[in-house]
Amino acid sequence: MKLTAEALTLGFPGRVLCQGLSFGVSPGQCWAVLGNNGSGKSTLMHALAGVHTPLAGTVRVDDEPLSVMGAARRARLIGLLMQEEPAEFWGSVLDYVALGRYPHRRSLLGYDPEAERMARTQLESMDLARLAGQALSTLSGGERQRARLALVLTQDPALFLLDEPLQHLDLRHQMQALDWFARLARASGRAVLMVLHDPALARRYCDHAVLLYEADTPLAGAAERVLTPDNLERLYGVPVPL
Protein backbone atom coordinates (compact mmCIF):
# COMPACT_ATOMS: atom_id res chain seq x y z
CA MET A 1 0.00 0.00 0.00
CA LYS A 2 1.09 3.59 -0.60
CA LEU A 3 0.22 6.40 1.79
CA THR A 4 0.01 9.88 0.33
CA ALA A 5 -0.27 13.19 2.12
CA GLU A 6 -1.59 15.95 -0.13
CA ALA A 7 -1.16 19.62 0.80
CA LEU A 8 -1.74 18.98 4.51
CA THR A 9 -2.31 21.89 6.85
CA LEU A 10 -2.02 20.73 10.43
CA GLY A 11 -3.04 22.36 13.66
CA PHE A 12 -6.01 23.30 15.72
CA PRO A 13 -8.56 26.08 15.33
CA GLY A 14 -6.53 29.24 16.02
CA ARG A 15 -3.12 27.57 15.75
CA VAL A 16 -1.59 26.44 12.46
CA LEU A 17 1.43 24.16 12.94
CA CYS A 18 2.51 23.41 9.40
CA GLN A 19 1.20 24.16 5.94
CA GLY A 20 1.46 22.66 2.48
CA LEU A 21 3.00 19.32 3.41
CA SER A 22 2.95 16.73 0.61
CA PHE A 23 4.76 13.42 0.41
CA GLY A 24 4.19 9.74 -0.30
CA VAL A 25 5.33 6.70 1.66
CA SER A 26 5.87 3.46 -0.27
CA PRO A 27 6.41 -0.07 1.04
CA GLY A 28 9.99 -0.71 2.09
CA GLN A 29 10.72 2.90 3.04
CA CYS A 30 11.80 4.12 6.46
CA TRP A 31 11.06 7.77 7.17
CA ALA A 32 12.28 10.06 9.93
CA VAL A 33 10.16 13.00 11.09
CA LEU A 34 12.26 15.80 12.61
CA GLY A 35 11.29 19.13 14.09
CA ASN A 36 11.40 21.24 17.21
CA ASN A 37 8.95 20.89 20.10
CA GLY A 38 5.54 22.07 19.03
CA SER A 39 6.32 21.92 15.30
CA GLY A 40 3.48 19.46 14.67
CA LYS A 41 5.23 16.07 14.64
CA SER A 42 2.64 14.30 16.79
CA THR A 43 -0.23 16.04 15.01
CA LEU A 44 1.20 14.81 11.70
CA MET A 45 1.35 11.24 13.02
CA HIS A 46 -2.23 11.48 14.29
CA ALA A 47 -3.45 12.89 10.96
CA LEU A 48 -1.72 10.11 9.01
CA ALA A 49 -3.26 7.52 11.36
CA GLY A 50 -6.77 8.94 10.94
CA VAL A 51 -7.28 9.88 14.60
CA HIS A 52 -7.00 13.63 13.88
CA THR A 53 -8.65 15.57 11.07
CA PRO A 54 -6.23 17.95 9.32
CA LEU A 55 -7.32 21.58 8.90
CA ALA A 56 -6.87 21.16 5.16
CA GLY A 57 -5.55 18.60 2.70
CA THR A 58 -6.10 14.88 2.28
CA VAL A 59 -4.44 11.67 3.40
CA ARG A 60 -4.92 8.79 0.98
CA VAL A 61 -4.23 5.09 1.18
CA ASP A 62 -3.57 4.12 -2.42
CA ASP A 63 -6.44 6.10 -3.96
CA GLU A 64 -8.87 5.97 -1.08
CA PRO A 65 -9.19 8.98 1.26
CA LEU A 66 -8.41 7.92 4.84
CA SER A 67 -11.45 9.83 6.11
CA VAL A 68 -13.91 7.49 4.38
CA MET A 69 -12.12 4.26 5.23
CA GLY A 70 -13.71 1.89 7.77
CA ALA A 71 -12.09 1.91 11.20
CA ALA A 72 -11.18 -1.78 11.29
CA ARG A 73 -9.68 -1.87 7.81
CA ARG A 74 -7.67 1.27 8.52
CA ALA A 75 -6.36 -0.30 11.72
CA ARG A 76 -5.20 -3.38 9.81
CA LEU A 77 -3.18 -1.15 7.47
CA ILE A 78 -1.90 1.58 9.79
CA GLY A 79 -0.52 1.20 13.31
CA LEU A 80 0.11 4.16 15.60
CA LEU A 81 2.44 4.31 18.58
CA MET A 82 1.42 7.41 20.49
CA GLN A 83 3.74 9.60 22.48
CA GLU A 84 1.49 9.48 25.50
CA GLU A 85 -0.82 6.69 26.50
CA PRO A 86 -2.42 6.12 29.89
CA ALA A 87 -0.18 4.08 32.20
CA GLU A 88 -3.18 2.55 33.94
CA PHE A 89 -4.32 -0.70 32.40
CA TRP A 90 -6.76 -3.39 33.49
CA GLY A 91 -4.57 -6.41 32.89
CA SER A 92 -1.22 -8.04 32.34
CA VAL A 93 1.49 -7.13 29.84
CA LEU A 94 0.34 -10.06 27.70
CA ASP A 95 -3.31 -8.88 27.79
CA TYR A 96 -2.10 -5.45 26.74
CA VAL A 97 0.04 -6.58 23.82
CA ALA A 98 -2.65 -9.00 22.60
CA LEU A 99 -5.02 -6.02 22.10
CA GLY A 100 -2.95 -5.33 18.98
CA ARG A 101 -4.87 -8.18 17.34
CA TYR A 102 -8.21 -6.41 17.89
CA PRO A 103 -8.55 -5.17 14.27
CA HIS A 104 -7.76 -8.70 13.00
CA ARG A 105 -10.17 -10.56 15.27
CA ARG A 106 -12.22 -13.25 13.58
CA SER A 107 -14.56 -14.40 16.33
CA LEU A 108 -17.25 -11.99 17.50
CA LEU A 109 -16.10 -12.23 21.10
CA GLY A 110 -12.46 -11.72 20.22
CA TYR A 111 -11.14 -14.90 21.79
CA ASP A 112 -8.27 -15.79 19.56
CA PRO A 113 -5.48 -18.24 20.49
CA GLU A 114 -3.51 -16.88 17.55
CA ALA A 115 -3.52 -13.44 19.21
CA GLU A 116 -1.83 -14.76 22.31
CA ARG A 117 0.78 -16.62 20.27
CA MET A 118 1.63 -13.51 18.23
CA ALA A 119 1.70 -11.33 21.34
CA ARG A 120 4.18 -13.72 22.98
CA THR A 121 6.39 -13.64 19.87
CA GLN A 122 6.53 -9.84 19.96
CA LEU A 123 7.12 -9.77 23.71
CA GLU A 124 10.09 -12.04 23.00
CA SER A 125 11.40 -9.65 20.34
CA MET A 126 11.14 -6.71 22.78
CA ASP A 127 12.88 -8.66 25.60
CA LEU A 128 9.71 -8.75 27.70
CA ALA A 129 8.84 -12.46 27.67
CA ARG A 130 9.85 -12.69 31.34
CA LEU A 131 7.33 -9.99 32.31
CA ALA A 132 4.35 -11.28 30.28
CA GLY A 133 2.27 -12.11 33.35
CA GLN A 134 3.00 -8.90 35.29
CA ALA A 135 0.47 -6.09 35.62
CA LEU A 136 1.36 -3.43 33.04
CA SER A 137 1.30 -0.73 35.72
CA THR A 138 4.22 -2.39 37.58
CA LEU A 139 6.60 -1.95 34.64
CA SER A 140 9.28 0.74 34.47
CA GLY A 141 8.92 3.54 31.94
CA GLY A 142 11.30 1.89 29.48
CA GLU A 143 9.71 -1.53 29.87
CA ARG A 144 6.29 -0.02 29.31
CA GLN A 145 7.58 1.69 26.17
CA ARG A 146 8.78 -1.68 24.89
CA ALA A 147 5.37 -3.18 25.68
CA ARG A 148 3.79 -0.39 23.63
CA LEU A 149 6.16 -1.19 20.75
CA ALA A 150 5.26 -4.88 21.10
CA LEU A 151 1.57 -3.98 20.86
CA VAL A 152 2.02 -2.11 17.61
CA LEU A 153 4.21 -4.95 16.25
CA THR A 154 1.43 -7.40 17.17
CA GLN A 155 -1.01 -5.20 15.26
CA ASP A 156 1.23 -5.97 12.25
CA PRO A 157 0.16 -3.09 9.98
CA ALA A 158 1.57 -2.28 6.54
CA LEU A 159 2.57 1.17 7.82
CA PHE A 160 4.03 1.86 11.26
CA LEU A 161 3.62 5.40 12.60
CA LEU A 162 5.90 5.70 15.63
CA ASP A 163 5.79 8.87 17.70
CA GLU A 164 9.06 9.02 19.65
CA PRO A 165 9.60 5.25 19.69
CA LEU A 166 12.88 5.67 21.59
CA GLN A 167 11.60 7.60 24.60
CA HIS A 168 12.58 6.09 27.97
CA LEU A 169 14.64 3.34 26.27
CA ASP A 170 18.20 2.58 27.37
CA LEU A 171 20.90 2.78 24.70
CA ARG A 172 20.88 -0.94 23.90
CA HIS A 173 17.14 -1.05 23.45
CA GLN A 174 17.19 2.15 21.38
CA MET A 175 19.57 0.53 18.91
CA GLN A 176 17.65 -2.74 19.01
CA ALA A 177 14.33 -1.00 18.28
CA LEU A 178 15.79 1.04 15.41
CA ASP A 179 17.42 -2.07 13.91
CA TRP A 180 14.16 -3.93 14.24
CA PHE A 181 12.02 -1.36 12.47
CA ALA A 182 14.58 -0.55 9.78
CA ARG A 183 14.84 -4.27 9.00
CA LEU A 184 11.05 -4.61 9.03
CA ALA A 185 10.89 -1.96 6.29
CA ARG A 186 13.72 -3.43 4.20
CA ALA A 187 12.99 -7.12 4.55
CA SER A 188 9.22 -7.47 4.81
CA GLY A 189 7.96 -4.58 2.73
CA ARG A 190 6.45 -2.63 5.61
CA ALA A 191 6.77 1.14 5.73
CA VAL A 192 7.91 3.00 8.84
CA LEU A 193 7.55 6.66 9.74
CA MET A 194 9.10 7.66 13.06
CA VAL A 195 9.56 10.83 15.05
CA LEU A 196 13.21 11.12 16.09
CA HIS A 197 15.20 13.82 17.86
CA ASP A 198 18.68 12.75 16.76
CA PRO A 199 19.54 13.62 13.13
CA ALA A 200 22.51 11.23 13.27
CA LEU A 201 20.19 8.30 13.99
CA ALA A 202 17.88 9.51 11.24
CA ARG A 203 20.79 9.49 8.77
CA ARG A 204 21.88 6.06 9.86
CA TYR A 205 18.53 4.25 9.86
CA CYS A 206 16.17 6.16 7.56
CA ASP A 207 16.13 6.55 3.79
CA HIS A 208 13.62 9.42 3.77
CA ALA A 209 12.83 12.34 6.05
CA VAL A 210 10.27 15.05 6.79
CA LEU A 211 11.51 18.30 8.35
CA LEU A 212 8.82 20.40 9.99
CA TYR A 213 9.80 24.09 10.09
CA GLU A 214 7.85 26.38 12.36
CA ALA A 215 7.65 29.37 10.04
CA ASP A 216 8.48 27.85 6.69
CA THR A 217 7.37 25.26 4.17
CA PRO A 218 8.14 21.73 5.39
CA LEU A 219 10.67 19.62 3.51
CA ALA A 220 10.06 15.99 2.62
CA GLY A 221 12.01 13.56 0.48
CA ALA A 222 15.04 11.31 0.17
CA ALA A 223 17.33 11.47 3.19
CA GLU A 224 20.48 12.47 1.31
CA ARG A 225 18.66 15.44 -0.21
CA VAL A 226 16.76 16.57 2.92
CA LEU A 227 19.08 15.76 5.82
CA THR A 228 21.82 18.23 4.90
CA PRO A 229 23.78 20.24 7.49
CA ASP A 230 22.25 23.48 6.15
CA ASN A 231 18.67 22.23 6.37
CA LEU A 232 19.24 20.83 9.87
CA GLU A 233 20.91 24.00 11.15
CA ARG A 234 17.98 26.01 9.80
CA LEU A 235 15.63 23.53 11.54
CA TYR A 236 17.18 23.47 14.99
CA GLY A 237 18.82 26.90 15.09
CA VAL A 238 22.13 25.35 16.16
CA PRO A 239 24.96 23.88 14.06
CA VAL A 240 24.41 20.16 13.51
CA PRO A 241 27.57 18.12 12.82
CA LEU A 242 26.79 14.93 10.89
Binding site: G50, R74, A75, M82, E85, P86, Y102, R105, G110, Q155
Partner: protein
Amino acid sequence: MSRPILILALFAVLGAISLGLGLVVGSVPLSAADVAGALAGDASSPVGAIVLQVRLPRVLAGFACGGLLALAGALLQVLLRNPLADPYVLGISGGAGLGLLAATSLGVGYAGSQLAGLAGALLAVLTVFGLSFRAGDWNLYRLLLTGVVFSAGCSALISLILLLAPQTAVKGMLFWMLGDLSDATSPQWAWLALATCGAASVLGSGALNVMLLGRRKAISLGVPVASAEVVIYLIASAATVTSVSLAGTVGFVGLIVPHLVRLLGVTDYRWLIPSAILAGGALLSLADTAARSLWAPLQIPVGALTALLGVPVVLLLLARRR
Protein backbone atom coordinates in the same frame (compact mmCIF):
# COMPACT_ATOMS: atom_id res chain seq x y z
CA MET B 1 -7.64 -17.93 31.91
CA SER B 2 -8.74 -20.29 34.66
CA ARG B 3 -9.54 -17.65 37.26
CA PRO B 4 -12.18 -15.71 35.24
CA ILE B 5 -13.86 -19.01 34.33
CA LEU B 6 -13.89 -19.99 38.01
CA ILE B 7 -15.43 -16.67 39.07
CA LEU B 8 -18.03 -16.83 36.29
CA ALA B 9 -18.94 -20.40 37.34
CA LEU B 10 -19.12 -19.31 40.98
CA PHE B 11 -21.62 -16.56 40.20
CA ALA B 12 -23.61 -18.87 37.92
CA VAL B 13 -23.97 -21.32 40.82
CA LEU B 14 -24.76 -18.49 43.22
CA GLY B 15 -27.37 -17.18 40.77
CA ALA B 16 -29.04 -20.60 40.59
CA ILE B 17 -29.01 -20.88 44.40
CA SER B 18 -30.52 -17.41 44.74
CA LEU B 19 -33.37 -18.32 42.37
CA GLY B 20 -33.99 -21.60 44.22
CA LEU B 21 -33.97 -19.93 47.64
CA GLY B 22 -36.36 -17.28 46.37
CA LEU B 23 -38.87 -20.04 45.57
CA VAL B 24 -38.42 -22.09 48.75
CA VAL B 25 -38.07 -19.38 51.41
CA GLY B 26 -40.93 -17.12 52.46
CA SER B 27 -43.72 -16.51 54.95
CA VAL B 28 -45.25 -19.88 54.00
CA PRO B 29 -42.43 -22.41 54.43
CA LEU B 30 -42.18 -24.82 51.50
CA SER B 31 -39.92 -27.80 50.84
CA ALA B 32 -37.79 -28.20 47.74
CA ALA B 33 -40.10 -31.05 46.73
CA ASP B 34 -43.18 -28.79 46.95
CA VAL B 35 -41.49 -26.25 44.73
CA ALA B 36 -40.35 -28.88 42.24
CA GLY B 37 -43.90 -30.23 42.09
CA ALA B 38 -45.32 -26.77 41.48
CA LEU B 39 -42.74 -26.04 38.76
CA ALA B 40 -43.58 -29.38 37.14
CA GLY B 41 -47.01 -27.99 36.36
CA ASP B 42 -49.30 -28.36 39.34
CA ALA B 43 -50.53 -24.76 39.39
CA SER B 44 -53.97 -25.46 40.81
CA SER B 45 -52.95 -26.30 44.38
CA PRO B 46 -52.34 -23.51 46.93
CA VAL B 47 -48.63 -24.34 46.89
CA GLY B 48 -48.62 -24.13 43.11
CA ALA B 49 -50.30 -20.73 43.27
CA ILE B 50 -47.77 -19.39 45.76
CA VAL B 51 -44.79 -20.63 43.76
CA LEU B 52 -45.94 -19.84 40.24
CA GLN B 53 -47.97 -16.69 40.78
CA VAL B 54 -46.22 -15.00 43.69
CA ARG B 55 -42.67 -16.13 44.22
CA LEU B 56 -41.51 -17.04 40.72
CA PRO B 57 -42.34 -13.68 39.09
CA ARG B 58 -40.85 -11.80 42.00
CA VAL B 59 -37.57 -13.73 42.17
CA LEU B 60 -37.21 -13.52 38.38
CA ALA B 61 -37.86 -9.77 38.53
CA GLY B 62 -35.25 -9.34 41.24
CA PHE B 63 -32.66 -11.31 39.33
CA ALA B 64 -33.28 -9.41 36.09
CA CYS B 65 -33.16 -5.99 37.78
CA GLY B 66 -29.94 -6.86 39.60
CA GLY B 67 -28.35 -8.05 36.37
CA LEU B 68 -29.50 -4.94 34.48
CA LEU B 69 -28.16 -2.58 37.16
CA ALA B 70 -24.78 -4.31 37.36
CA LEU B 71 -24.53 -4.25 33.57
CA ALA B 72 -25.43 -0.55 33.39
CA GLY B 73 -22.88 0.28 36.09
CA ALA B 74 -20.09 -1.65 34.37
CA LEU B 75 -20.84 0.07 31.04
CA LEU B 76 -21.03 3.58 32.48
CA GLN B 77 -17.78 3.10 34.36
CA VAL B 78 -16.07 2.53 30.98
CA LEU B 79 -18.00 5.23 29.15
CA LEU B 80 -17.36 7.97 31.72
CA ARG B 81 -13.90 6.63 32.68
CA ASN B 82 -15.02 7.08 36.24
CA PRO B 83 -15.00 4.30 38.85
CA LEU B 84 -17.76 6.07 40.82
CA ALA B 85 -20.22 5.99 37.94
CA ASP B 86 -23.44 4.12 38.71
CA PRO B 87 -26.64 3.60 36.70
CA TYR B 88 -28.28 6.64 38.27
CA VAL B 89 -25.48 9.16 37.77
CA LEU B 90 -26.95 10.39 34.48
CA GLY B 91 -30.30 11.38 35.93
CA ILE B 92 -32.53 8.41 35.08
CA SER B 93 -33.52 7.76 38.69
CA GLY B 94 -34.17 11.46 39.22
CA GLY B 95 -36.39 11.72 36.16
CA ALA B 96 -38.29 8.54 36.97
CA GLY B 97 -38.72 9.52 40.62
CA LEU B 98 -39.94 12.96 39.74
CA GLY B 99 -42.48 11.61 37.25
CA LEU B 100 -43.78 8.92 39.56
CA LEU B 101 -43.96 11.01 42.72
CA ALA B 102 -45.54 13.98 40.98
CA ALA B 103 -48.23 11.74 39.49
CA THR B 104 -48.87 9.99 42.81
CA SER B 105 -49.15 13.23 44.74
CA LEU B 106 -51.61 14.57 42.14
CA GLY B 107 -53.84 11.61 42.88
CA VAL B 108 -53.09 9.57 39.75
CA GLY B 109 -53.66 5.85 40.27
CA TYR B 110 -51.03 3.11 40.48
CA ALA B 111 -50.74 2.25 36.79
CA GLY B 112 -50.79 5.90 35.76
CA SER B 113 -48.04 6.74 38.23
CA GLN B 114 -45.91 3.87 36.94
CA LEU B 115 -46.34 5.20 33.41
CA ALA B 116 -45.43 8.70 34.57
CA GLY B 117 -42.28 7.27 36.14
CA LEU B 118 -41.34 5.53 32.90
CA ALA B 119 -42.01 8.75 30.97
CA GLY B 120 -39.85 10.70 33.43
CA ALA B 121 -36.99 8.22 33.00
CA LEU B 122 -37.13 8.39 29.22
CA LEU B 123 -37.39 12.16 29.32
CA ALA B 124 -34.29 12.26 31.52
CA VAL B 125 -32.34 10.15 28.99
CA LEU B 126 -33.44 12.43 26.12
CA THR B 127 -32.74 15.63 28.04
CA VAL B 128 -29.27 14.69 29.28
CA PHE B 129 -28.29 13.24 25.91
CA GLY B 130 -29.75 16.17 23.98
CA LEU B 131 -28.04 18.78 26.13
CA SER B 132 -24.61 17.15 26.08
CA PHE B 133 -24.35 15.51 22.65
CA ARG B 134 -22.45 17.14 19.82
CA ALA B 135 -21.91 14.96 16.75
CA GLY B 136 -18.22 14.26 16.27
CA ASP B 137 -17.21 15.84 19.55
CA TRP B 138 -19.11 14.31 22.45
CA ASN B 139 -17.36 15.48 25.57
CA LEU B 140 -18.07 12.85 28.20
CA TYR B 141 -17.24 15.19 31.07
CA ARG B 142 -20.01 17.40 29.79
CA LEU B 143 -22.28 14.35 29.72
CA LEU B 144 -21.36 13.45 33.29
CA LEU B 145 -21.82 17.01 34.58
CA THR B 146 -25.10 17.42 32.72
CA GLY B 147 -26.35 14.20 34.27
CA VAL B 148 -25.21 15.11 37.78
CA VAL B 149 -26.73 18.60 37.60
CA PHE B 150 -29.98 17.24 36.15
CA SER B 151 -30.13 14.69 39.01
CA ALA B 152 -29.58 17.42 41.58
CA GLY B 153 -32.51 19.38 40.16
CA CYS B 154 -34.74 16.31 40.28
CA SER B 155 -33.67 15.55 43.87
CA ALA B 156 -34.62 19.05 44.95
CA LEU B 157 -38.08 18.73 43.40
CA ILE B 158 -38.50 15.22 44.86
CA SER B 159 -37.70 16.55 48.33
CA LEU B 160 -40.34 19.26 47.88
CA ILE B 161 -42.93 16.69 46.80
CA LEU B 162 -42.13 14.50 49.81
CA LEU B 163 -42.58 17.47 52.12
CA LEU B 164 -45.87 18.55 50.57
CA ALA B 165 -47.41 15.13 49.93
CA PRO B 166 -50.02 13.73 52.34
CA GLN B 167 -48.52 11.55 55.09
CA THR B 168 -50.25 8.40 53.82
CA ALA B 169 -48.61 8.63 50.42
CA VAL B 170 -45.09 9.28 51.71
CA LYS B 171 -44.37 5.73 52.83
CA GLY B 172 -45.10 4.31 49.38
CA MET B 173 -42.85 6.98 47.84
CA LEU B 174 -40.00 6.12 50.18
CA PHE B 175 -40.38 2.43 49.35
CA TRP B 176 -40.09 3.24 45.65
CA MET B 177 -37.05 5.46 46.23
CA LEU B 178 -35.28 2.78 48.25
CA GLY B 179 -36.15 0.16 45.66
CA ASP B 180 -38.92 -2.35 46.20
CA LEU B 181 -39.94 -5.49 44.32
CA SER B 182 -43.31 -6.18 45.96
CA ASP B 183 -45.21 -4.86 42.94
CA ALA B 184 -43.00 -6.58 40.40
CA THR B 185 -45.38 -9.16 39.01
CA SER B 186 -44.42 -9.27 35.33
CA PRO B 187 -40.68 -9.72 34.84
CA GLN B 188 -40.80 -10.75 31.18
CA TRP B 189 -39.87 -7.28 29.85
CA ALA B 190 -36.94 -7.08 32.20
CA TRP B 191 -35.69 -10.48 31.03
CA LEU B 192 -36.07 -9.44 27.41
CA ALA B 193 -34.05 -6.30 28.17
CA LEU B 194 -31.46 -8.30 30.10
CA ALA B 195 -31.08 -10.77 27.22
CA THR B 196 -30.70 -8.07 24.54
CA CYS B 197 -28.57 -5.61 26.49
CA GLY B 198 -26.48 -8.43 27.95
CA ALA B 199 -25.86 -10.10 24.59
CA ALA B 200 -24.98 -6.80 22.91
CA SER B 201 -22.56 -5.91 25.73
CA VAL B 202 -20.86 -9.30 25.73
CA LEU B 203 -20.44 -9.08 21.95
CA GLY B 204 -18.95 -5.59 22.32
CA SER B 205 -16.82 -6.42 25.34
CA GLY B 206 -13.65 -6.78 23.25
CA ALA B 207 -14.13 -3.17 22.14
CA LEU B 208 -14.64 -2.08 25.78
CA ASN B 209 -11.23 -3.57 26.61
CA VAL B 210 -9.65 -1.50 23.84
CA MET B 211 -11.56 1.67 24.75
CA LEU B 212 -9.97 1.57 28.21
CA LEU B 213 -6.67 2.43 26.47
CA GLY B 214 -8.02 5.91 25.75
CA ARG B 215 -9.99 7.40 22.90
CA ARG B 216 -7.27 7.92 20.30
CA LYS B 217 -5.51 4.61 20.84
CA ALA B 218 -8.86 2.83 20.55
CA ILE B 219 -9.58 4.61 17.25
CA SER B 220 -6.15 3.66 15.94
CA LEU B 221 -6.91 0.03 16.85
CA GLY B 222 -10.09 0.10 14.78
CA VAL B 223 -12.82 0.81 17.32
CA PRO B 224 -15.36 3.30 15.92
CA VAL B 225 -15.28 5.13 19.26
CA ALA B 226 -17.76 7.93 18.54
CA SER B 227 -20.59 5.57 17.61
CA ALA B 228 -19.56 3.00 20.24
CA GLU B 229 -19.99 5.66 22.95
CA VAL B 230 -23.54 6.43 21.84
CA VAL B 231 -24.39 2.72 21.74
CA ILE B 232 -22.96 2.16 25.24
CA TYR B 233 -24.94 5.12 26.57
CA LEU B 234 -28.16 3.81 25.00
CA ILE B 235 -27.66 0.24 26.27
CA ALA B 236 -26.87 1.43 29.80
CA SER B 237 -29.91 3.73 29.71
CA ALA B 238 -32.25 1.01 28.45
CA ALA B 239 -31.03 -1.33 31.19
CA THR B 240 -31.46 1.31 33.89
CA VAL B 241 -34.90 2.49 32.72
CA THR B 242 -36.17 -1.10 32.65
CA SER B 243 -34.91 -1.82 36.14
CA VAL B 244 -36.18 1.45 37.60
CA SER B 245 -39.64 0.99 36.11
CA LEU B 246 -39.91 -2.44 37.73
CA ALA B 247 -38.15 -2.06 41.06
CA GLY B 248 -37.70 1.63 41.79
CA THR B 249 -34.23 2.97 42.51
CA VAL B 250 -32.40 0.06 44.09
CA GLY B 251 -29.03 1.40 45.14
CA PHE B 252 -25.59 -0.12 45.57
CA VAL B 253 -25.87 -2.98 43.04
CA GLY B 254 -24.95 -0.95 39.97
CA LEU B 255 -22.05 0.84 41.60
CA ILE B 256 -20.51 -1.96 43.61
CA VAL B 257 -21.10 -5.24 41.77
CA PRO B 258 -18.68 -4.39 38.91
CA HIS B 259 -16.07 -3.46 41.53
CA LEU B 260 -16.76 -6.66 43.44
CA VAL B 261 -16.01 -8.65 40.29
CA ARG B 262 -12.83 -6.64 39.72
CA LEU B 263 -11.73 -7.18 43.32
CA LEU B 264 -12.08 -10.91 42.72
CA GLY B 265 -9.49 -10.54 39.97
CA VAL B 266 -11.64 -10.33 36.83
CA THR B 267 -10.73 -7.16 34.91
CA ASP B 268 -11.08 -8.38 31.31
CA TYR B 269 -14.47 -7.03 30.19
CA ARG B 270 -15.18 -10.18 28.17
CA TRP B 271 -15.45 -11.97 31.53
CA LEU B 272 -16.40 -9.03 33.71
CA ILE B 273 -19.69 -8.31 31.90
CA PRO B 274 -21.24 -11.79 32.24
CA SER B 275 -19.86 -12.19 35.77
CA ALA B 276 -21.29 -8.84 36.86
CA ILE B 277 -24.71 -9.69 35.38
CA LEU B 278 -24.83 -12.98 37.29
CA ALA B 279 -23.46 -11.43 40.49
CA GLY B 280 -25.91 -8.51 40.35
CA GLY B 281 -28.83 -10.85 39.73
CA ALA B 282 -27.80 -13.16 42.56
CA LEU B 283 -27.27 -10.27 45.00
CA LEU B 284 -30.60 -8.60 44.31
CA SER B 285 -32.69 -11.78 44.38
CA LEU B 286 -30.99 -12.95 47.61
CA ALA B 287 -31.53 -9.55 49.18
CA ASP B 288 -35.18 -9.54 48.12
CA THR B 289 -35.80 -13.01 49.55
CA ALA B 290 -34.33 -11.78 52.82
CA ALA B 291 -36.31 -8.54 52.67
CA ARG B 292 -39.67 -10.27 52.35
CA SER B 293 -39.07 -13.18 54.74
CA LEU B 294 -36.74 -12.08 57.57
CA TRP B 295 -39.35 -9.91 59.27
CA ALA B 296 -42.47 -11.44 57.71
CA PRO B 297 -45.25 -10.45 57.58
CA LEU B 298 -43.51 -7.09 57.65
CA GLN B 299 -42.03 -6.36 54.20
CA ILE B 300 -39.06 -4.05 53.97
CA PRO B 301 -37.85 -2.49 50.70
CA VAL B 302 -35.09 -4.57 49.11
CA GLY B 303 -32.95 -1.48 48.49
CA ALA B 304 -32.35 -1.21 52.20
CA LEU B 305 -30.92 -4.73 52.26
CA THR B 306 -28.72 -4.75 49.13
CA ALA B 307 -26.32 -2.41 50.87
CA LEU B 308 -26.52 -4.25 54.19
CA LEU B 309 -25.63 -7.54 52.44
CA GLY B 310 -23.06 -6.12 50.07
CA VAL B 311 -21.18 -3.59 52.17
CA PRO B 312 -19.42 -6.07 54.51
CA VAL B 313 -18.37 -8.27 51.59
CA VAL B 314 -16.89 -5.41 49.63
CA LEU B 315 -15.22 -3.79 52.66
CA LEU B 316 -13.58 -7.14 53.52
CA LEU B 317 -12.34 -7.61 49.96
CA LEU B 318 -11.01 -4.03 49.88
CA ALA B 319 -9.18 -4.48 53.17
CA ARG B 320 -7.64 -7.82 52.14
CA ARG B 321 -6.49 -6.55 48.77
CA ARG B 322 -2.95 -5.20 48.72
